[in-house]
């Protein structure tokens, strides 16, 4: 890095600033855990070492995860509640298909 770059650089997550905001956003997202449930998504920092079961409890209210959400995938692979997260994965609590109630006959 030359002197000009050093003067202009700002450390962000331990790296130099990225000119392109999309690249910056992507750089930040890469360091985060992304959790999906249905239409909704949350990104979390500092969850390395957390199990899927703990994550489930933490996100229950925020992402409306219920007991019916039994299937969980991490980076596309099905895992159990005791799976330990690295903190940068994509986790999806698979939302069951909508089942509208039937009227009493």
């Amino acid at each position: 890095m030359d002197e000009r770059e050093q003067k202009l650089s700002t450390t962000v997550i331990g790296e130099n600033i990225v000119d392109n905001p999309d690249q910056l956003r992507a750089a930040i997202v890469e360091k985060q855990l992304t959790v999906y449930c249905g239409a909704n998504v949350q990104r979390l920092d500092n969850v390395a070492g957390m199990t899927v079961g703990t994550l489930r409890g933490r996100m229950r209210e925020i992402l409306n995860i219920t007991r019916d959400h039994q299937m969980v995938r991490v980076n596309g692979a099905e895992v159990g509640n005791d799976f330990v997260l690295k903190g940068t994965e994509e986790v999806e609590f698979i939302k069951p298909a909508g089942e509208k109630g039937s009227a009493l006959r």
Binding site: A97, E99, L104
Partner: protein, 225 residues
């Protein structure tokens, strides 16, 4: 080639007319001009809050009576029955575009399994809870799955705990579900039709499932592999 609409309640009753309109005015060869309307249920007074119904008769018959005069270009057939394992081979055949708007996983499982035995079928299934829901697209082409069946990643469909209404004993009650909202039903109907229109235009879809949540305003398409 036929379009088959199974379920004419909260979702199906809002899907029927725009589906007819789409098929009449589509310039695509694959757009069928024959529609089967299938439902064994009868409209009740309490359905008026969410469902398009003018008379309290069988839903399939009522829908045909209402839409027939509006769309003389289409051949609309009403089947006042619930789909079951005895009649499904008549109701869903090779080449059909099936719109599944039922309220139980048992029928979803039955239909998805049957579609898996056919060579070319497009199945679009929709369902919702009070404020959210999803659609799923299952396509078969030349005897192969182009997208996964409805039961893929959905154990509630693979091993349903509920019953097909056709299998209920006389007088047996269906469990009352969550509160239903008109806006949620409309959203599902719209997403189902949108998926079909995109498929007609392009021959494929960039997603196999789509979730929405009216409370957060989010919609998320997913391509399941």
């Amino acid at each position: 080639m036929r379009a088959v609409l199974i379920g004419l309640g909260g979702i199906g009753s809002h899907l029927a007319e725009p589906l007819c309109r789409t098929l009449v005015f589509s310039k695509k060869e694959q757009a069928p001009k024959r529609i089967l309307l299938i439902d064994g249920d009868t409209y009740e007074e309490k359905n008026r809050e969410r469902q398009r119904c003018n008379v309290l008769v069988n839903k399939a018959d009522a829908t045909r009576e209402a839409l027939g005069p509006l769309f003389p270009e289409l051949r609309l057939e009403a089947k006042p029955r619930f789909v079951d394992k005895e009649n499904i081979f008549l109701f869903i055949r090779k080449g059909d575009a099936v719109f599944l708007a039922v309220d139980n996983h048992a029928t979803r499982n039955l239909v998805s399994s049957h579609v898996g035995t056919l060579t070319d079928v497009l199945l679009i299934s929709g369902g919702n809870e009070t404020y959210d829901g999803n659609i799923q697209v299952y396509e078969r082409r030349n005897g192969k799955d182009v997208s996964p069946p409805l039961s893929f990643l959905h154990p509630e469909i693979e091993s349903p705990k509920d019953k097909n209404p056709a299998d209920l004993a006389c007088g047996e009650l269906v469990a009352q579900g969550n509160v239903q909202l008109l806006t949620t039903n409309l959203t599902i109907a719209s997403l189902m039709l949108n998926a079909y229109v995109r498929w007609l235009e392009r021959g494929e879809l960039p997603y196999t499932e789509m979730y929405f949540d009216l409370l957060t305003g989010n919609v998320r398409p997913v391509k399941r592999i």
